[in-house]
């Protein structure tokens, strides 16, 4: 699986250095607690039309948690199409959607390769499911559209050690950002959609070892002692419909209410993102 077409970086995983600054030592050691209210999402910046050569494009940035050395989420999405399908492909009465999600090699603590790894492919599948519900596919027969999302910065805290936090949870935030940014880029490209879809994340977290769990929206994994369960929702606000739901965690099955609340909060986070999305699209027009 080596990629011969590019000059690759060093083989194997690189472990970033952790500098133990004496003054900051305390700060590093103690976990940064969440400063936002449980219902508050982080501020985000969204702009469409950033890539002139693409049919549609958008850029999304979510603010950092305010602490130095912590990267926020930075995503860029380009949409190519609708365009004709390659000659070899069979007739399609619908638009063929293909989604690619790729972390930049430097987006996360662990360097990513140039080839898409299974996690990135998986993200692509989720994104596709989320978008497919939103677009009106039969408006564009025999056409294809490529949606490419690059994760430039992966919303990770450089100063947490490897054992703290878990990338498995970060990926939820990344997906929700991917959905929102891709939705903006689709609207920019003029592809028919039933509604604007946006992503939102909610999680059931425990802040200290013995406190009772609580639900927060837009969680930053490094801010919490343990994440028990997390869900990412892609939501169409005017139709009140969910196009993609991804939940993982460990909840007692007997407690349906907990699950329902989690999804509700996810929808709430998605609605917040949607407000930003609509405002951004409105600005594009004027």
């Amino acid at each position: 699986m080596t990629d011969r077409r590019r000059i690759n970086g060093p083989v194997g995983a690189t472990i970033p250095l952790v500098f133990e600054d004496v003054e900051d030592y305390e700060q590093v050691a103690t976990k940064a607690a969440r400063s936002r209210a449980p219902n508050a999402v982080r501020k985000m910046y969204l702009k469409t039309g950033v890539t002139p050569s693409a049919s549609g494009s958008a850029y999304l940035e979510i603010e950092t948690s305010g602490k130095g050395g912590v990267s926020g989420l930075k995503l860029s999405c380009t949409v190519y199409g609708p365009r004709s399908l390659p000659r070899s492909s069979p007739f399609s009465p619908h638009i063929i959607l293909s989604t690619h999600v790729k972390y930049a090699p430097f987006a996360t603590k662990q360097r990513r390769g140039y080839l898409r790894d299974p996690a990135e492919r998986d993200l692509g599948s989720h994104l596709e499911a989320a978008l497919r519900g939103a677009i009106i596919a039969d408006r564009w027969p025999k056409s294809g559209v490529d949606i490419i999302v690059s994760i430039i910065e992966g919303d990770q805290d450089r100063e947490t050690s490897k054992t703290q936090g878990d990338e498995a949870w970060d990926i939820m935030n990344a997906l929700s950002g991917c959905i929102t940014v891709a939705s903006a880029a689709l609207a920019d490209a003029g592809i028919d959609c039933v509604d604007t879809v946006a992503g939102g994340v909610a999680a059931l977290v425990r802040d200290t070892a013995d406190s009772s769990p609580s639900i927060v929206v837009d969680p930053i994994p490094s801010e919490h002692e343990k994440i028990l369960a997390s869900c990412c929702v892609a939501y169409l606000p005017t139709r009140n419909e969910v196009t993609n739901l991804w939940y993982k965690g460990d909840l007692p099955a007997s407690d349906m209410e907990l699950y329902t609340k989690l999804v509700e909060k996810g929808i709430q986070a998605s609605t917040n993102a949607n407000r930003v999305l609509l405002e951004c699209l409105g600005e594009t027009v004027n």
Binding site: I15, V18, P93, H94, P118, A119, R121, D122, G124, S125, H126, E128, A129, R132, G133, A134, I136, A137, D138, P141, S161, K162, T163, A168, V194, D195, A229, C231, A234, Y235, L236, R239, N240, E241, V242, T243, N244, L245, W246, Y247, K248, G249, D250, L251, P252, A253, S254, M256, Y259, T260, V263, E264, I267
Partner: protein
């Protein structure tokens, strides 16, 4: 992606299927009741060269084999130089508390092989991610692979679909994996503490990965299972066949796990302790309150969105007065739905419908319970 290996069906068939499945009670093409699974044939321990294996096949010839192989691997420390170099062995043993027995997700490697699909296909990646995600959801699974602070078991799970997928293979693969893991045994550790591990070469003494109750030979904790459930109209349908999935309004894959007791998870009871769990409480746990855990939910992109829509007779140009129409192939205009004409659904699903699907899986005495009961009955050889 996930389910785009779509069944080619005509609009008339799709309209018929959708109508039949929307009835109360729904009429499924093969006559099953909404919650009925296709009958399957299962066996375990079919591959002597593995630590655990299972095979499941459906009547239509769809067949899956799972083999589990375990290897001893040196645990990589968090950072260079952090690797614990064993001090006094005795001391270490007492020191290891359960919190420290933390597993890593990369201790499990899973590959899914589906004939006719490239291994970098999105479907394969999606299926693999879904099954491993459920397995690793609570971290409790990888803890079972802990040997000592310097070594762990690395588990290779190879999931093979033997026949081309006649229906969405997720439930089949998940059930087979479940059985294979139940049948998986690891050699008994003879070394102590953090020294280089060596094992009992007597296979009969090997321990089950999911320890069993000594009395009835049944396991207490169980690996997760993933169930495929879909909704058409007001009906909730389990284990959909390919043509049923083709008219689904929404489809979910729900993974559930089962814990021995609540206490066991809370304190992170380790495997060997569970072996010796008082058999009466364990038996009670099985019979009375099954402790189900909701581990993962994923939306399966329903292939219905990619189906060809039908043309109502009123606008069908091949219907009667074709010549009077000026544009014979003008694109079908937006119109209200017409009865008997298939329209590919747009948009997503109402949150309430999704919640109902999940509830149906999880409710007490619900489908998850019954599936686990049935799997319980499989002879684990």
């Amino acid at each position: 992606m996930a389910s785009t290996q779509h069944a080619l069906l005509s609009p008339a068939e799709l309209a018929y299927l959708h109508a039949a499945l929307s009835l109360t009670p729904p009429i499924r093409p093969d006559g099953r009741s909404p919650a009925q699974f296709r009958p399957l044939v299962a066996e375990t321990g079919i591959l002597p060269g593995t630590n655990g294996s299972a095979r499941i096949c459906f009547a239509d010839g769809t067949e899956a084999i799972v083999g589990v192989k375990a290897e001893v691997e040196r645990t990589r420390g968090g950072y260079e130089g952090e690797i614990v170099e064993g001090g006094g062995a005795e001391e270490v043993v007492t020191d290891v508390n359960d919190e420290e027995k933390k597993g890593e997700s990369d201790w499990v490697e899973m590959t899914v092989e589906i004939p006719g699909l490239r291994d970098d296909d999105a479907t394969t990646a999606f299926l693999g991610a879904m099954i491993s995600e459920a397995l690793l959801a609570d971290g409790g699974f990888s803890r079972r692979l802990w040997i000592n602070r310097r070594f762990h078991w690395k588990l290779y799970l190879d999931i093979l679909l033997i026949s081309p997928p006649l229906s969405y293979p997720l439930p089949l693969l998940s059930l087979t994996t479940h059985l294979a893991l139940l049948a998986t045994r690891l050699p008994r550790l003879k070394s102590e503490g953090d020294e280089d591990p060596f094992f009992d070469d007597d296979w009969a003494a090997a321990r089950y990965l999911y320890p069993r109750n000594k009395k009835d030979g049944k396991t207490t904790a169980r690996p997760p299972v993933t169930l495929l459930v879909m909704a058409v109209g007001n009906n909730i349908i389990f284990d959909p066949a390919k043509e049923e999935l083709a008219v689904a309004d929404v489809a979910l894959a729900v993974s559930i796990g089962e814990d021995a007791t609540t206490a066991a998870t809370a304190t992170g009871d380790d495997a060997s302790l569970m072996m010796d769990v008082d058999s009466t409480t364990a038996a009670a746990a099985i019979t009375s309150a099954r402790n189900l855990r909701l581990l993962s939910i994923r939306t399966i992109d329903p292939p219905s969105r990619l189906t060809p829509s039908g043309v109502p007779n009123a606008t069908n140009t091949a219907y009667g007065a074709a010549t009077t129409q000026k544009q014979p192939e003008a694109r079908t205009a937006e119109a209200e739905a017409v009865e008997g004409v298939w329209r590919a659904p747009r948009g997503g699903a109402k949150p309430l419908v999704m919640a109902a699907l999940v509830h149906k899986v999880l409710e007490k005495g619900g489908i998850a319970d019954e599936v686990l009961d049935a799997l319980h009955a499989v002879d684990l050889g």
